[in-house]
Symmetry: C2
Subunit: 187 residues, 2 copies
């Protein structure tokens, strides 16, 4: 066989198998593996001590959240204003430090991640289209049960396709231009 | 000529010419063009309202700084713990917003960038090795004069090669392991 054709067939087979049990992102029992290279993905935004509850729930801790998306899904969003299948959004939490080196005011990020969460779109695998996973380290994680608040809150308030694009300024601009904002979304 | 050899020679010539007037990042009169695609570079960290002065100088504004580096220089840092020639670090400033959508606490980023600064390493072009440029929009910028505070402060306090790696947690870990921290650096 022509080697180029063989490569194309191999890629096509891999794409067709994406949502089945041999997806390399999952363990055979359906746990998601933490993405190893998300720090080299596309950065969407960061925030400090955000909370959607009236009463803050930081328990004295101060944290930055950094949001990343896999590059292929980012490029698709730039073209279309919404997310393709296999989109992986990562939220990484890092301690917000006041004192260090020559800093006098404000807060900077320091130390190891305090947690990593993934929001993944895979309609063939998850009945609602999207699923959340929370990681404490390098171990694969079970899906967060679909009764958890994160699902209903993202569904009700996410500006685009159940995601909080309202907090990612470069994507909000694109979604506004492409008219892909959810009718539920209120700025 | 063997076409592959021709390509190699072309690349070698381009590399040798990197610091001359035909570098596409500069205008013929030596202004730096703002990098168009830095939001797709590697994210290093973000901070909120940091200041190195005893008295804050935010004048009532609250801002996030997002730091990015070009991917080739990032990969070199991961290997060596320091920056190669042509490194471009970008600091993007964005407004820190409290009220919006369902947010109740903390701050998130919103709106257009409030400014973009570049720290670039190019020893053939700049006597001190590095230069700073500040952009207000799409126009090329003159180098910030070398008498400005940013040069002396980065020189005295930058953890690696005059850059504030002490505020980029993933790189600080690498520099510590590779023993490339400046003797001037105090955590």
């Amino acid at each position: 066989m022509n080697p180029r054709l063989a490569v194309i067939l191999l890629l096509a087979t891999a794409a067709a198998n994406g949502a089945t049990a041999d997806d390399p992102n999952y363990t055979p029992d359906g746990k998601l593996k933490p993405p190893a290279d998300y720090r080299e993905w596309i950065f969407l935004s960061s925030s400090l001590d955000m909370s959607y509850r009236k009463r803050g729930d930081m328990m004295g801790h101060s944290m930055f959240d950094n949001i990343f998306v896999d590059p292929a899904s980012y490029r698709e969003f730039v073209k279309t204003g919404t997310w393709p299948e296999k989109t992986r959004l990562v939220m990484e939490m890092r301690g917000a430090t006041k004192k260090g080196s020559i800093n006098q005011h404000g807060r900077f990020q320091s130390g190891e991640p305090m947690g990593v969460e993934v929001h993944i779109k895979d309609s063939a695998r998850f009945p609602g289209g999207w699923a959340f996973f929370a990681f404490g380290g390098a171990e694969p994680a079970q899906q967060i049960p679909t009764g958890a608040d994160c699902y209903s809150c993202h569904q009700e308030h996410g500006a685009v396709n159940t995601t909080f694009v309202q907090f990612y300024p470069t994507l909000l601009k694109i979604a506004t231009e492409k008219k892909t904002l959810s009718p539920n979304y209120h700025p």
